[in-house]
């Protein structure tokens, strides 16, 4: 990656939910191997942005461009975006009754490899991935996210990420609902996945996860816009002093 092309970039993205604009022109460029974090309070628009980037039908990108490895994502359906290398770890993963984790995982991998592809290595690979995330083997035959605790759901999201091997993983509030042990396991999984050919975009309210997964850049989102960007020290400052000082700064800037 010596030519230094961004792996993921979006420019002037606007997002509408049921006619209301919730993201008002944000831009970002992520290089291979980088970890970025978007921080913000609830309702700042960061989850809407993640959903819209993945192609959720209710979160419409009304303006802007989004590129993954140079490909125009906005022309693609969610399944095509996934196969192009985008992944969203859901804040609230959905339950699919009657569909076992193993069958779902197999179907997902098959969709990435193509219907005719050889799947003979699947079982072994799946078991290894489960072991790494300390997921009990019995989960393979449980129904997807049905009756799972918050921590179990999040581990399973990371399991999916590690098996689908995306170019860019969007992690939406992956730390919420995790106790400290689960947070460690999940962070280790994220760090094991991350290398210099992929990139991470962490979306989070708190700095907690960032102690374990160190971002190169931090962007703060307020009212649908990025109001400040910086290094990891920005996250630490938000942790110490909260969002108020920044809100005040933004308000003053607006007055000027």
């Amino acid at each position: 990656m010596s030519d230094k092309q961004p792996i993921f970039e979006f420019h002037d993205v606007h997002v509408e939910v049921e006619g209301t604009e919730v993201v008002k022109g944000v831009s970002l460029s992520i290089m291979p191997g980088e970890i970025h974090a978007i921080m913000g309070r609830n309702g700042s628009g960061k989850s809407s942005l993640s959903n819209a980037l993945m192609g959720h039908p209710l979160y419409k990108i009304t303006k802007g461009t989004v590129r993954l490895n140079g490909q125009d994502l906005l022309e693609m359906e969610p399944d095509e975006r996934s196969r192009a290398g985008l992944f969203l770890a859901f804040q609230y993963p959905l339950a699919i009754p009657g569909v076992t984790v193993a069958n779902f995982m197999r179907a997902a991998i098959q969709s990435h490899r193509g219907k005719e592809a050889d799947m003979s290595d699947f079982r072994k690979w799946f078991t290894t991935a489960m072991n790494e995330l300390e997921i009990e083997r019995s989960f393979a035959s449980r129904y997807l996210n049905e009756g799972f605790s918050g921590g179990e759901k999040k581990r399973l999201e990371i399991l999916q990420m590690s098996m689908l091997r995306p170019k860019l993983a969007l992690l939406d509030e992956t730390d919420s609902g995790l106790d400290i042990d689960a947070l460690k396991t999940v962070s280790e999984g994220i760090n094991r996945f991350h290398n210099d050919t992929n990139a991470l975009l962490l979306v989070t309210h708190y700095q907690r996860l960032l102690n374990y997964v160190k971002p190169h850049k931090v962007h703060v989102m307020m009212a649908g816009q990025f109001v400040q960007s910086g290094g990891p020290e920005l996250a630490l400052k938000l942790e110490e002093s909260g969002y108020e000082w920044l809100e005040k700064q933004v308000a003053e800037k607006l007055e000027v």
């Binding site: 993945m54 969203l88 569909v99 779902f104």
Partner: protein, 478 residues
């Protein structure tokens, strides 16, 4: 606009018929050994009975049943417009394809053998079944059972042979669970019945491998009226499976079976059906079981095909401690109406039952759950749980639930749950975000929805059922 939608739907229906046609819908050009005239009368009934060389008492039962059929009006519930379309005068009531039944596939005429080959029956027989009965139009053309089952004293015959070889058992139990008076179609079946299965399992015998019957309608305007009677004597166990298909014709055929099960004290019967009739078959079937002391009966009933199905498997819990379970799934696609359900009658203390009904309606398909739970005065400590789950796909799909509860004892526990859901946008987004196409995602959700049913099937049938659903789901509109 409505025209366009209608055209699209017709195209889809045509494609579905083509898919079904490619797999099951082939027709055989047949020279019948016997093909009676259309329509039903005492002459036709007498002819059937005489061709079968039946004892007089059976002929009398038939004639009496015909009078009941002629006197009873068509049911005024269910899908009356479709029921009223049935033209009883335009149906062949008896078609005998070949002169005698064979025990070896090699002796079955080639065109019929090929039919069952294409349906995979001889293969399944070799790999995991204990016995197979193959009915073509009115009669069973092939029948065979493994020697070790015969040695255990298990009787598995087609109903005609059952009557010939074991008249005393048939006379004792025939019509004892479902009398001719029960309903118009049970009366019709009793008058013109032909083929079906007769099973008797001696006390204490466990039939470890399933017994299977396969029903095939080949002719147009055919009426198939098989009659099945299964008796599991004290402490015995048996699993019976039936499947069915037919070619697609422009005019309708009628399938009207009667199935009677008797589970004597401590016996166990499971009866599994995968109904995949062509979409111009009226499938009007009466199925009922009696469970005696500590006996268990399970109906596992899958309805994928037919134009109209009206079928409500019933269990009468007659002995103390008897158990019943009815697990059903119905798939209603374009122009189909699956009016299915379950009935449980608690007529003894400490009896328990569980009903799980799952339906999927797609396009303009319609699924109806019609259920009856009746608890008699003497059935203290009865336990009942009823769960109905309907999944709708598309804006025009329809699902109705008509649960009836008649409870005459207050020392009982009854649970009833009914849910209607749509394939949720959020679930689809979750799955598509992992790379699955929208069609694959929807199919996965539907298969998951049916999983409680599918997992009860022998593996071979589970695979087949999933393939049938896949066929039905192709080209589905959200």
């Amino acid at each position: 606009m409505a025209d366009t939608a209608r055209n699209q739907q017709n195209e889809q229906l045509q494609r579905l018929n083509e898919d079904y046609g490619a797999k099951y819908g082939f027709r055989d050009p047949v020279e019948y050994f016997h093909k009676g005239a259309k329509g039903v009368s005492h002459e036709v009934v007498e002819m059937i009975s005489q061709m079968k060389n039946e004892p007089r008492w059976m002929a009398d039962i038939r004639h009496e049943a015909l009078d009941i059929f002629l006197a009873k009006p068509t049911p005024g519930w269910g899908n009356t417009p479709l029921l009223n379309e049935i033209d009883f005068a335009n149906i062949y009531y008896f078609m005998k394809p070949i002169e005698k039944q064979e025990k070896s596939w090699d002796d079955v005429p080639e065109y019929i053998r090929k039919t069952f080959d294409r349906l995979g029956i001889p293969e399944a027989e070799k790999s995991f079944l204990g016995g197979v009965s193959a009915q073509y139009e009115s009669e069973v053309v092939y029948h065979s059972m493994k020697q070790e089952l015969t040695d255990q004293g298990i009787i598995f015959l087609d109903m005609d042979s059952g009557l010939r070889e074991h008249p005393e058992i048939v006379r004792k139990y025939f019509g004892s669970v479902i009398p001719s008076m029960d309903n118009k179609f049970a009366a019709l079946n009793t008058a013109v019945w032909s083929g079906g299965s007769f099973i008797y399992v001696p006390p204490g015998v466990d039939v470890k491998v399933p017994l299977q019957a396969y029903f095939r309608i080949n002719a147009e305007n055919m009426g198939q009226f098989e009659r099945t009677l299964i008796i599991a004597d004290k402490g015995s166990r048996v699993h019976y499976i039936e499947g069915c298909t037919a070619p697609v014709y422009s005019t309708d055929s009628l399938h009207s079976a009667v199935v009677e099960l008797l589970a004597l004290d401590d016996a166990y019967i499971r009866y599994t059906t995968i109904q995949n009739w062509a979409r111009n078959i009226y499938n009007l079937v009466t199925k009922r079981a009696s469970a005696h002391k500590n006996a268990t009966v399970e109906w596992v009933d899958g309805n994928i095909g037919s134009r109209l199905t009206m079928k409500y498997p019933c269990i009468q819990l007659l002995g103390e401690g008897a158990k019943g379970e009815i697990l059903s799934v119905a798939f209603a696609g374009i122009d189909q109406h699956q009016d299915a359900g379950a009935k449980v009658i608690h007529a003894a203390p400490n009896t328990s039952s569980r009903v799980t009904s799952k339906s999927i309606s797609k396009d303009n398909g319609r699924a109806t759950y019609r259920g009856l739970v009746k608890i008699h005065k003497n059935a203290q400590n009865a336990k009942v749980s009823v769960e109905c789950d309907a999944l709708l796909i598309g804006e025009n799909a329809r699902s109705d639930t008509y649960p009836t509860m008649e409870i005459d004892n207050d020392q009982v526990r009854v649970e009833h749950e009914a849910r209607v859901s749509k394939v949720a946008e959020e679930q689809l987004f979750y799955l598509t975000s992992r790379g699955l196409s929208e069609d694959d995602a929807r199919l996965l959700i539907v298969n998951g929805f049916m999983e409680p049913f599918t997992k009860e099937l022998p593996l071979e049938y589970a695979v087949e059922l999933n393939r049938l659903i896949e066929l039905e789901m192709e080209g589905s509109i959200g």
